[in-house]
Symmetry: C2
């Protein structure tokens, strides 16, 4: 009998009626002859509510104790899901991360998975039971509870699928991966399949379909992951490693993100070590920098521009101004009304024509490109935030993403 | 350094500010040089809320899963308490029942404690830490979570005090054991000390100070238990095994309970086995019967009267009527407007005069006694509910309970 590891996120188990709905889905799957392990998240906003409760007690809750506290959210939904299954006559049992064999290091709040020891899970499956695993939580060597960070239930599901050599299905409130955000481009089309790398680029902030870390884990262990809706039976998107001839050398989708601020240090003396001097204070302050570009030098002076999350701008700016003065730069300018738009597809960066067509499309729409950056499978432009919707729609049309791909016509 | 195991109940940790208040109390105790292990209950109504959530899912949640669910309440408050201690600069750590070494059988919902293996607790104490233990929960042989039933945090505290050879202190919203319920008899006096047995009689339903099972456990292991308020520093009541000369042969307090209904089966044929026939169906229906009296037989017919909780009357009555018909009894009468009043004191049952003075007092107050029953340390009368406050006050005065005892004048 096929073994499948499913994951149901917080919105899919947000209240009693949604839990019953998921239980009915699991029952249908079990009745069809599959053996099911389901990883569940905490109900709705439970995690945030528990964190708020901790902050009523102290501004700086210790990470170990925060893990003890927030991990109860997943424990609760696992027990409730089993009750709902029992009510439908399905034999089932809930297992905590510890019981299910999730072993982690002791970096509380963002622990790494060290191993999955699924002995108990296998025993319960062999007894004919559906196993509901509390996601997001594991056990350290000192037998303490540790959580593996946001998106931890996705990662839990992929890790168990790898350990159990099972199928992996992520059920969420989004029914798959689209060629663009459907709220921005109504003509966006759901992709039948996508590679891990393309998924990582498309799902960064803008898409919110699945935790990037879980995708990476799937990539490392070559676990195909189906992303689909927990509310309907529409086919989802399969994330996998293979790139077929149709998939290669094509734009698969448009990613965008409006949480972008820009800082430019102008008139930076162009000497070795200056970049390190600029970015070290930001790293020390745990401020995450995204795209960095340094313009070609002229007369021993250069401009250094980088982007970061809008929320981080207020903390970053004084640090950057101090270092700008220290290195003798001319001045610092910032703009928080920026956005990022990318075309994503395996092979497009090295293939000719894609970049040019992207720049032409934006230019034809009268959209000014402030920064360009590229990765293996992505070409990104930083543009004014006010034009982001126009940019997504123009690119979606220019690369004909509304049309079904050859592989989907079969 | 003295080691103390404290327990803080649900109302003492009902919200962030009360948790901080308890943390400050623990800190003062630790600063005074004591090593502290504190057992905490779930916050306020958390347990009831979780049970209500389970009932939204199913009418009959399985006991194992209900244990997984409700045990998260204590886990949450243990972590929050440690955060509050950390905020005060106190080194502390939370331990689940499993981590603390609470081993139970697998009778979920009302598990028995099999052993306390406090290795980890000792290690943390030896590191100079305050240890906060999540009450009410333990680990079974199959490594599943089991809860030990209502009042489980009291029992947890007494069990750890026994295992660690420590003092035991139960902090609650009542500041000790009184000679009567102060809401009924304003002149009720807090007792400085009391025996386990007297406590069990006084604390039954009416007093709500501490779980009877915890008192019994204290008695078995001879653990003196201090009951005091978590809101002030007033001296509480010490529950212990020793009976001194003052304590012996004295009425220590008046217990009462208005949750009493009465059923009488009249004209029961007086033959062997008839009592078993009457009570077997009630036991099968898990209906708990309290006092039972059978009047002396006359003409081969007898009357059997027993009391039970008011809530159980509706379920019990048809069962009793069926059995009455089967055994050929005349009829069944019931009255749910009953109450129970007791005088409690080691030795009073066997000493002359106490029973007579009790009956005289009630008679002088015009209160009709419907049933009398006695135990080693208690004489109980069942009376009409409408007169219960009068009865408590009259007995409190008759046995001069407003006066301090000799041992308290020292």
């Amino acid at each position: 009998m096929p073994l499948v590891v499913q994951k149901y996120g917080g919105s899919s188990v947000a209240d009693a009626s949604r839990i019953k709905n998921v239980a009915a889905r699991i029952k249908r799957r079990a009745d069809a002859g599959d053996r099911v392990v389901a990883v569940v998240s905490a109900m709705g906003d439970t995690t945030d509510e528990l964190i708020a409760l901790a902050r009523e007690i102290t501004d700086a809750p210790e990470a170990r104790e925060l893990d003890v506290l927030v991990s109860t959210g997943e424990t609760q939904s696992s027990a409730l899901m089993v009750m709902a299954l029992h009510a439908l006559g399905v034999d089932a049992i809930s297992l905590s991360g510890a019981q299910a064999g999730m072993r982690t290091d002791n970096v509380h709040g963002k622990a790494r998975i060290l191993a999955i020891e699924p002995r108990r899970v296998r025993e319960e499956i062999d007894r004919g039971r559906v196993v509901i695993v509390a996601g997001f939580q594991g056990l350290t060597e000192t037998l303490d509870v540790a959580t593996i960070g946001r998106g931890g239930s996705d990662t839990t599901a992929v890790a168990f699928a790898a350990a159990l050599n099972a199928l992996c299905e992520i059920y969420t409130d989004v029914d798959g991966v689209y060629t663009a955000d459907p709220r921005v481009e109504p003509g966006a089309r759901k992709l039948k399949d996508i590679t891990y790398e393309e998924m990582l680029e498309l799902a960064s902030k803008g898409a919110r379909v699945m935790a990037p870390r879980a995708v990476e884990l799937g990539s490392v262990y070559s676990i195909p992951i189906l992303v689909a809706s927990s509310y309907n039976d529409e086919p989802g998107t399969l994330i996998h490693g293979g790139v077929d001839m149709e998939g290669f050398n094509r734009v698969r989708g448009i990613a965008h993100d409006v949480d972008v601020a820009k800082i430019t240090i102008r008139g930076v003396p162009d000497r070795p070590g200056v970049a390190a001097e600029i970015f070290a204070p930001l790293a020390d302050a745990h401020l995450s920098v995204d795209t960095i570009v340094q313009n070609a030098s002229k007369e021993q002076l250069t401009d250094v521009t980088f982007t970061l999350a809008k929320n981080d701008l207020a903390r970053a700016r004084p640090l950057v101004e101090r270092v700008a003065k220290a290195i003798g730069a001319r001045d610092v300018v910032a703009d928080e009304q920026m956005a990022k738009v990318s075309i994503v597809g395996t092979g497009i960066q090295s293939a000719p024509g894609y970049a040019a067509r992207m720049f032409r499309t934006l230019s034809d729409a009268g959209i000014n490109i402030e920064i360009i950056s590229t990765s293996e499978i992505r070409i990104t432009c930083i543009i004014p935030e006010a034009r982001i919707a126009d940019a997504v729609r123009a690119l979606h049309a220019a690369f004909e993403l509304e049309k079904a791909e050859a592989s989907e016509l079969a």
